[in-house]
Amino acid sequence: MGIHHPSNSSNQCSPNDSDESDAELLARARQGDEAAFKRLVERYESVVASTAIGMLGKGDDAEEVGQETFIRFYQSLRRFRAESRVGTYLTRIAINLSLDELRRRKKRKLRFWIWEEREALPDELVVSDEQEIEANERKDFVRRAIQSLDGKHRAVVVLRMLNGYSTQETAALLGIPIGTVLSRLSRAQEKLRHLLSPLMNE
């Protein structure tokens, strides 16, 4: 199934943000031009960041996944062909690495019974009417609500709602049927609506 990078996402680079196209930068990077590859990293940082931070929360793990995504891309430059677009290719690597990291976290937790040092996830978000929620707090609440979803539901939310991929593209990226994407999304939305209801105009 062909995947096209979503055009409606604010994360995406516009074709006009650089004089050089991806194909030109890729050709130069393949010949060992570091500056060209660095330009690609700058161009696609937002795509990878929204995926990794959406999946893992802001922090060292997300940064590590972000770096590893570009390193793997660099190592596969010669094999990379334009069947899938750069953004889609990077998203696929980032989402797989993030899911691996979530599995590792789960194993660590099960094996050692260690409660990782992180903020407790909300069961419910309590906001009084008078309280004005600052932009940063809103971000934090939303981030924590997404983090409260389990990995497979989170991946669907990140790809569909953060990165703006369509249902079909999400299914192709995760290698699952479209019906599964829809049911996971529906369940995830239900939970998010409950958690984020204080931030939404009912």
Binding site: E34, K38, S46, A49, A52, I71, L162, T167
Partner: protein
């Protein structure tokens, strides 16, 4: 509501949120929305939720991310070239060792044949002296223990 109807409703809602409804799907969704205020509310909530999540997207790893990536790539390149140098050296040592082993084996076999010794192929290849249980016992000196 049957599972199929719910599935279709969900499918149409998601297509509407993606903005990719066909004319026929638009017509079907319009009928469903007309019939169900609950569905209208659901669509509105889904739009709100999507907008809220979208507005909170983190799009950056912080300043100098690309420099950090390039620095990692350079150091992994250096590690790779060290590993490649080791592999190059190892291949040559391994080839030399194999040649030596084959030469020693050939020498052992040919010298055993020249001496006319009848041994198993393994003993001949390894150049082992003939050893049997009875020969071992015969060579034991029990006088010290008596």
């Amino acid at each position: 509501m049957t599972k199929t109807m719910k599935g279709e409703r969900e499918f149409l809602l998601q297509r509407a949120l993606d903005g990719v409804l066909t004319a026929e799907e638009k017509r079907r969704l319009a009928i469903l929305l007309e019939e169900s205020p609950a569905l209208r509310l659901e669509l509105e909530r889904a739009r709100q939720l999507r907008a809220l999540i979208k507005e909170c997207t983190e799009n950056s790893f912080g300043p100098f991310f690309s420099s950090r990536v390039m620095s990692r790539i350079r150091s992994s390149d250096a590690e790779d070239s060290f590993a490649q140098a080791l592999a190059w050296l190892f291949r040559r040592v391994a080839v030399a060792a194999i040649v030596l082993i084959v030469a020693l084996t050939a020498y052992n076999i040919s010298s055993q044949q020249a001496l006319g010794n009848h041994r198993s192929p393994l003993e001949a290849a390894l150049g082992l002296p003939p050893v049997t249980v009875s020969m071992s016992i015969a060579n034991l000196n029990f006088t010290d223990t008596l």
